[in-house]
């Protein structure tokens, strides 16, 4: 595997037929957009719900998890279409996966701990 390479590949030629290629492209909208939308509305919800009060740590961590999860989903697009190929990309992907995963478990654990586990 190269250290880092950039390629131009047409996503419309990704699958054997144009219809299937479009299907794969369009499916990225709910995948990346869904997580991005969640991060956007969670922070809006928190600002509205808590107003001037400080946002509790469990909610902050849960929101950060959604931001990192969005980055994680975003990196999967150039991986799939192989616009970027190489060890450097895999290392970045690994780090983002770990950070997103830790924040997700930590955030949901703190939420559960506050209202249920104690």
């Amino acid at each position: 595997m190269p250290i880092l390479e950039f390629h131009i590949s047409n996503p419309l030629n990704f699958a054997p037929t144009l219809g299937l290629s479009l299907y794969v492209i369009l499916m990225h909208i709910p995948i990346v957009g869904g997580f991005g939308m969640a991060a956007f509305y969670i922070i809006k919800y928190l600002k509205k719900f808590y107003g001037e009060r400080p946002i509790p740590r469990e909610w902050k961590v849960f929101w950060i998890a959604l931001v990192w999860a969005t980055v994680h989903e975003l990196i999967e697009v150039p991986i799939l279409y192989q616009w970027v190929v190489g060890q450097a990309l895999l290392i970045v992907f690994f780090i983002v996966q770990i950070i997103a995963g830790i924040y997700l478990v930590w955030g949901t654990y703190l939420l559960a701990k506050k209202y249920s586990l104690e």
Partner: protein
């Protein structure tokens, strides 16, 4: 076609999808490759990262269940948290499907690509996104 791809593989970094994908591609599953590229020393970190990504969504789903049970008690759990919970659980399936497809490429099976990866991923993302939107709408 596949013979042509095989001949050019050593000279190209981009490994194209196979137009004749099998129904299930498990026999092409190879931990030494990622999207058709030899992993080398990145074999174990990559596997750990992919398994970790799938496991954290399962654990997160568990804690969300505990949170909603504790916070709402006997009250009805709102649509927003139901969406987020199902979205997180479905994304765990998608992360597993991702693992299979990355290692089976370019012969990823149609079942892994669609039923384990693309459809659950799109469904999970949409559910989490709309769940957060409904949560926001509850306070506006």
């Amino acid at each position: 076609m596949f013979q042509k791809i095989s001949r050019t593989l050593p000279y190209l970094a981009v490994i194209p999808a196979n137009p004749n994908s099998p129904l299930i591609g498990i026999k092409y599953f190879d931990l030494n490759t990622f999207m058709g590229q030899a992993l080398g020393w990145l074999k174990w970190p990559t596997l750990f990262g992919l398994v970790f990504a799938a496991v954290v969504f399962v654990v997160a789903a568990f804690y969300i269940i505990r949170y909603t049970q504790g916070y709402y008690g006997k009250r009805k759990i709102p649509k927003s948290w139901k969406f987020i919970l199902i979205g997180v659980a479905v994304t765990a399936i998608a992360e597993t499907g991702e693992l299979f497809c990355y290692y089976e490429w370019p012969m990823a099976g149609l079942i892994e690509q669609n039923l384990l990866l693309v459809i659950p991923h799109a469904l999970g993302g949409a559910l989490i996104g709309f769940g957060a939107y409904f949560l926001y709408k509850e306070v506006t």
